[in-house]
């Protein structure tokens, strides 16, 4: 393996299960909407939890021993200010405590910025996670065209994990102009007259593009696939047409299925392109956000042995529909009658801190005497277990089977009813756990499930993260997979 050639060693995408049919918007309001669908983060997801899911895909697609030396997290919609959100992702992934975790939040441009920093590092592997929940007022273009998704890219120099796409050139152009803006906490982004953004963006894009081509020593016509993305749809389209690309080189922008995923869009585009890439191909990313950034990669031989455990194309193909009313209530645009049950209490920070491995990384314990897996972890096992013979049992990546299930229409949930199953995990371990991303009629005894990281609810503004199970749909089952950190 050649060291020193910096590039991408893994990627992962996460598109939430639910899809809003844009036509449903115009059916309801008589205006807005459009064609196709957009992806919708579930009521139990936020940018942090979706980021975990994307990062899990990236990590699970490569050797479990691959180093992660730094974590960056970018979103325009962070769940916390002041407090770092990347540390939650760090905990869920069980990264080493000496691996730092940083947020680069607020702007769409943050994600390509984090990627550029990771690519510019002198050494080590960096995990760049981007995640976004895109909102807008009902009938707005942002509401219809936005999409919720997350991406993860692991960048390195090949010393730990093979580089599948080597960076060969980059370019950047920056300018201060206010064509889109949003005050933190607001649902709605505001826009200046559309022509203004186009007028500013197109020259910036061309400038950065030409700089990157020059840096890479290639011509525009040599680029095999280019993802052009950004916050200004019209500017993106116009700029893409002026880059000198072969007609077939312009990659699908996923607008028809996912929508514009904001900070996650660049990583999603990269995943889409790399899924079909062949060795030797040139791949370009161009991001138009408060300037323009262009990265050009050459796909390496290593791509042939890279297989995503959860390909983006499979996720896109396996979405489930969501009524527009649910979409509005999940995003808090419409307040619906809550269940007439007491709301949950805030999570105890001290209790959560003591049980970080369990709560965030779903690590139970295995009784070395009886072999029984305990979830939650216990100090003393059932069936005559003695104290002191427990070892950690990482269960997040272990698949399971539904033994039995029930539907609870009485319990508190931000989006009732609760579907709840007793799950038997492969290789041992049982836990009664909530199912998500499913309608009650989707579940059967014997159904295969996998674990997913979720934000169960928030109380006193503390987000309560934990794991749920989801049905395995069209993706490779986790059975018999090597689990990262399983024995540690």
């Amino acid at each position: 393996m050649i060291s020193g050639m910096r590039g991408i060693i893994s990627y992962g995408a996460y598109v939430p299960f639910r899809r809003l049919d844009r036509a449903d918007i115009s059916k309801f309001f008589g205006s807005g909407g459009g064609k196709g669908t957009r992806s919708v983060a579930s009521y139990d997801e936020d940018t942090t939890s979706m980021g975990v899911e994307a990062a899990r895909v990236a990590l699970r697609s490569i050797e479990p021993t691959t180093a992660v030396d730094a974590l960056w997290f970018a979103t325009t919609s962070p769940s916390y200010a002041d407090k770092t959100n990347a540390t939650t992702i760090h905990a869920a992934l069980r990264l080493d405590r000496n691996t730092p975790a940083f947020d680069m939040n607020g702007a769409v441009r943050s994600s390509v910025g984090a990627l550029r920093i990771a690519l510019a590092l002198g050494a080590g592997n960096a995990l760049v996670v981007a995640s976004d929940i895109r909102t807008g007022l009902p009938t707005s273009a942002d509401e219809a065209d936005g999409g919720d998704a997350a991406s993860a890219v692991i960048v390195g120099d090949g010393s730990s994990g093979a580089v599948i796409a080597e960076l060969i050139g980059s370019g950047s152009a920056t300018e201060e102009f206010t064509d889109r803006w949003r005050v933190p906490g607001q649902t709605r982004s505001k826009l200046w007259e559309e022509r203004f953004g186009e007028m500013v963006y197109v020259p910036l894009a061309i400038e950065a593009w030409n700089a990157a081509l020059k840096d890479a020593g290639v011509e525009a016509g040599q680029i095999d696939k280019a993802c052009v993305s950004g916050t200004h749809g019209r500017a993106v389209r116009v700029a893409a047409g002026k880059l000198g690309l072969k007609p077939e080189a312009l990659a699908d922008d996923l607008n028809a299925t996912v929508g514009n995923a904001g900070a996650a869009q660049v990583g999603l585009g990269l995943a889409r392109v790399l899924e079909d890439a062949k060795p030797g191909q040139l791949v370009a990313l161009a991001v138009l956000a408060d300037g323009a950034d262009v990265l050009i990669f050459r796909v390496t031989e290593a791509i042939t042995s890279f297989h995503s455990v959860r390909p983006l194309s499979t996720q896109i193909a396996n979405g489930g529909s969501l009524p527009y009313g649910k979409f509005l209530s999940w995003r808090g645009v419409v307040n619906v009658e809550p269940p007439r049950r007491p709301e949950p209490n805030r999570t105890s920070s001290t209790a959560a801190y003591r049980r970080e491995e369990w709560k965030y990384a779903f690590v139970g314990s295995r009784d070395e005497t009886t072999g029984i897996v305990h979830m939650p972890p216990a100090r003393i096992g059932i069936k005559g277990g003695v104290e002191g013979d427990m070892v950690p049992a990482a269960m997040a990546d272990v698949g399971g089977t539904v033994l039995t299930f029930t539907v609870d229409k009485l319990a508190y949930s931000p989006s009732p009813p609760i579907v709840f199953a007793v799950v038997d995990f492969d290789g041992g371990g049982r836990m009664p756990i909530e199912l998500t991303d499913c309608d009650p009629t989707d579940v059967t005894i014997g159904a295969r499930v996998e674990m997913t990281f979720r934000r169960l609810f928030a109380a006193d503004d503390i987000h309560n993260y934990f794991w749920k199970a989801r049905l395995v749909r069209g993706e490779p089952d986790n059975k018999a997979r090597v689990v990262r950190g399983a024995s540690a």
């Binding site: 105890s348 209790a351 049980r355 709560k359 029930t406 041992g428 049982r430 009664p432 909530e434």
Partner: protein, 396 residues
Amino acid sequence: MASHGIKDRVAIVGMGCTRFAEHWDKSSDDLVIEATNEAFASTGVGKQDIDAYWLGTAQTGMAGITLSIPLKLEGKPVTRVENFCATGSEAMRQAAYAVASGAYDLVAAVGVEKVKDGGYQGLNSFPTPTDGTNRTLTAAAMFSLLLPAYAKKYGVDEDEIRKVIARIGSKNHYNGARNVRAQYRREMSAEQICSMPAVAGRLAVMDCAGVADGSAAVIMCRAEDAHKYTDKPLFIKALSFVSGNGSGLVDPDFDFTTLPECAMAAEDAYHQAGVTDPRGEIAMAEVHDCFTVTELVLMEDLGFSPRGQAWKEVLEGSFDLTGDLPVNTDGGLKSFGHPVGASGLRMLYEVWLQLRNEAPPERQITTNKKLGLTHNLGGYPGEMVSFVGIFGAEKG
């Protein structure tokens, strides 16, 4: 080491029980005063004649002062007891042991719950700070897991079991309709219950215990002193208690067709009482029918029916008022209502009435068998506490 029990050493000499209902006009204080007044009167003693009190309440109040303040007790020990929905039985168990130990001559156990001041339907727990990973499922949903598991294990159609448990509900409503103290005094047919929409698994609202306010009280003394207070004492034959270790939620061998804590508590109780043939020796049983399906499984866990057979016996009417082993003759939790801390003592109150032939004629059982059983559980399948008590009107 062994569970020896206190067979025939402690006597029940007086009891009281309020109506269980949505007592919008009564406080916890009113309820304990009402229940204890009846118990004092039936024993012929006053509040200061009692040497020590135990108060069972799950979450209506903390500490013994929840009882000593409303009763204005002077210098009396009051121990507040909590053990989930088995709280009332647990208070009685502790009080009985205090008498058996010789520490006190005359003791009272009082159970109370004021659940209808919370503003929500159903039962709601006190918030304990946690790491946020605990289940938030209702008890109804957890118990609903029993139905498909039982149906599958014994090869019975789920719809058939659905009808079986509706029949249990119907039976308990029939009994409750003959009880002036019951929350629901309306008969309901199995068909009516079956036709209701499911709220948790296949359980409908009418498969769930009534949620009520209420209080019940018992007064106990040493067996040899019993006739100082009453001509018709009951004698404690057995008091058993098992706290589960949560293994059902962890153990892949657990199949959700049994409540092992209840089976273990029953086994211990039968041992203490010297009962070898529960079905043949128990005259009547008050069991914890928090959900109709719970009562089905309990018939097997308590040894009344062989495994996999209780559903047939339910249909045959074995546990009806006129059956050979009437169960929940007062309407049970289903119809009498379930004020958590009071329920265990309410069960005992029915045994008190039945074994003394003081139940209203319309539900008084006739039998040659001598023993009454109460079964009181708390928690849910896999994570449970269970109490079993056995009582008789005669020593020996």
